[in-house]
């Protein structure tokens, strides 16, 4: 998983005054972007481009790490050994994805500790979807199907992002992500096909709760995405929030039919003229409430991260001390040999 279009920051103004030298560099930079070229870590880039990327990549990384929590809630209670092994593999993947992304952000000159501080102090955001609870086993299947499905829609265009270290991380992530969506659909299919009436009801209940938050993952409507235009200009973003959302709706309606569930939207129907599905209005007040820290699990998620970090401090300290001791030992052995 799990990026969310994170255009949730106020519109940022670029510095108006630039030196002549900077203007030349920026023109060369723009030409490179226009030609479809990649920007590497050591290349010159406008400060605003760097800042935008640090924000987006680090928030993406945080989302992967926080995304482990709702799934971890079911690691000990998966219905079979097979499902447990699959879930553990998926959770491990999310940790790995967070790591690829932190590493990509670090190439821009921010440190891992700075990013983690920003998350723990509440300064940095992560995808709002993880502030909803996983109440039943079906939620794990629905997260794979809908949440990872939405994430894939978001992430595939990012493999062509102009910033190459981010694009490379996204290639790796997208390659692994497809398993996440398929295992979720597979788990739901088993419940719908072979399950009892009650088990099918659990699946439908999970779909009802996750459908709207999944649509919110694509971020605010284009008309309210203040930084979208600049990100498009710079090749950080390739497809608009609304276009991706529409693509996701069109793709999932058929999948829901195969599964035998319905979406909780009475206005959802095929529009022959547009060649797309129409769907009902999204409750953006809820989205902003959750982004603003007042979702069902915001406090719990952050507290779990902070606790894990604090309680792991002695392990990090011990590993550092051990490495230092080993290095000293090696040094003194060398000296004795000399």
């Amino acid at each position: 998983m799990y990026t969310q279009a994170m255009d949730t920051a106020p519109k940022e103004e670029r510095r108006a005054v630039r030196s002549a030298e900077e203007a030349v560099l920026e023109q060369r930079f723009d030409e490179r972007i226009d030609a479809g070229g990649s920007i590497e870590a050591k290349d010159w880039m406008p400060e605003h481009y760097r800042k935008t990327l640090v924000r987006q990549i680090s928030q993406h990384a945080h989302s992967e790490i926080v995304g482990m929590l709702p799934e971890g809630n079911w690691a000990t209670r998966a219905p079979t050994l097979k499902r447990k092994a699959i879930l553990l593999a998926k959770i491990q993947d999310e940790g790995g994805h967070g790591l690829y992304l932190y590493a990509a952000a670090e190439t821009l000159g921010t440190s891992r500790d700075q990013m983690i501080d920003a998350l723990h102090s509440g300064k940095a955001k992560y995808s709002s979807i993880f502030n909803y609870p996983t109440l039943s086993w079906a939620d794990i299947g629905v997260i794979g199907w809908l949440v990872d499905g939405a994430a894939i829609m978001n992430q595939v265009p990012l493999t062509r992002c102009s910033y190459a270290p981010y694009a490379r991380a996204m290639v790796r992530i997208c390659r692994e992500e497809s398993f996440h969506q398929r295992q979720g659909f597979d788990a739901l299919l088993v419940m719908m096909r072979d399950g009892t009436e009650a088990q099918r009801a659990v699946v439908q209940d999970a779909v009802n709760r996750w459908w709207w938050p999944s649509l919110m993952m694509f971020g605010p409507p284009d008309s309210e995405s203040p930084n979208s235009a600049q990100s498009m200009r710079w090749g950080i973003k390739r497809i608009s929030n609304d276009d991706l959302r529409q693509k996701f709706v069109d793709a999932t309606v058929l999948q829901a039919r195969v599964l035998g569930v319905t979406m909780p939207d009475p206005l959802l129907r095929w529009n022959e003229e547009r060649g797309h599905h129409d769907f009902g209005p999204i409750d953006w007040a809820e989205f902003w409430r959750v982004v603003g820290g007042h979702g069902p699990c915001n406090r719990e998620r952050l507290a779990a991260r902070v606790r894990a970090w604090d309680e792991g401090a002695w392990v990090r300290d011990a590993a550092t001390a051990f490495a230092r001791k080993q290095a000293m030992k090696e040094q003194s052995m060398k000296e004795q040999a000399a």
Binding site: K42, G96, S136, D205, E300, A303, E311, A321, F322
Partner: protein, 126 residues
């Protein structure tokens, strides 16, 4: 069973209550945690016969830990049969600012490529 009875049976683990801070958390000395573990670059050989290829980076206290973590992070699906790690600060790289000066002189040396030489069709597979 309908969905409302299901929700009453839900496990109560996901509460919104904040985690209690353990006493020890507050008392741990913060001496070392502020110092980040060094950064390592990871190279993976996909299969015997191929080059090691750079695939990313990670933080680790020493080389042994870096190799272990590289395995967990970069070869979860048998992507490799061998891993190299090297401290990022030990890598010397060409300066991207020197790119033109460094690499462009090769641009006009087309005679270094086999396609430069036009040979008769009968021997052109040479």
């Amino acid at each position: 069973m309908n969905s409302s009875t299901i929700s009453t049976e839900l496990p109560k683990t996901e509460t919104t209550a904040e985690w209690p801070k353990t006493e020890t958390t507050a008392e741990w000395p913060k001496t070392e945690t502020t110092a980040e573990w060094p950064l390592w670059e990871v190279f993976v050989r996909a299969k015997a016969g191929l080059d090691h290829k750079h695939c990313g980076s990670l933080h680790a206290t020493d080389a042994r830990m870096a190799v272990q973590l590289a395995r967990e992070v970069y070869t979860r699906r048998q992507e490799g049969v061998s891993v190299w790690v090297v401290k990022s600060i030990d890598i010397t790289a060409s300066d991207p600012g020197d790119k033109d000066m460094y690499f462009d002189p090769m641009e006009d040396k087309v005679y270094r490529h086999p396609g430069f030489y036009e040979l008769p069709d009968s021997v052109n597979h040479m």
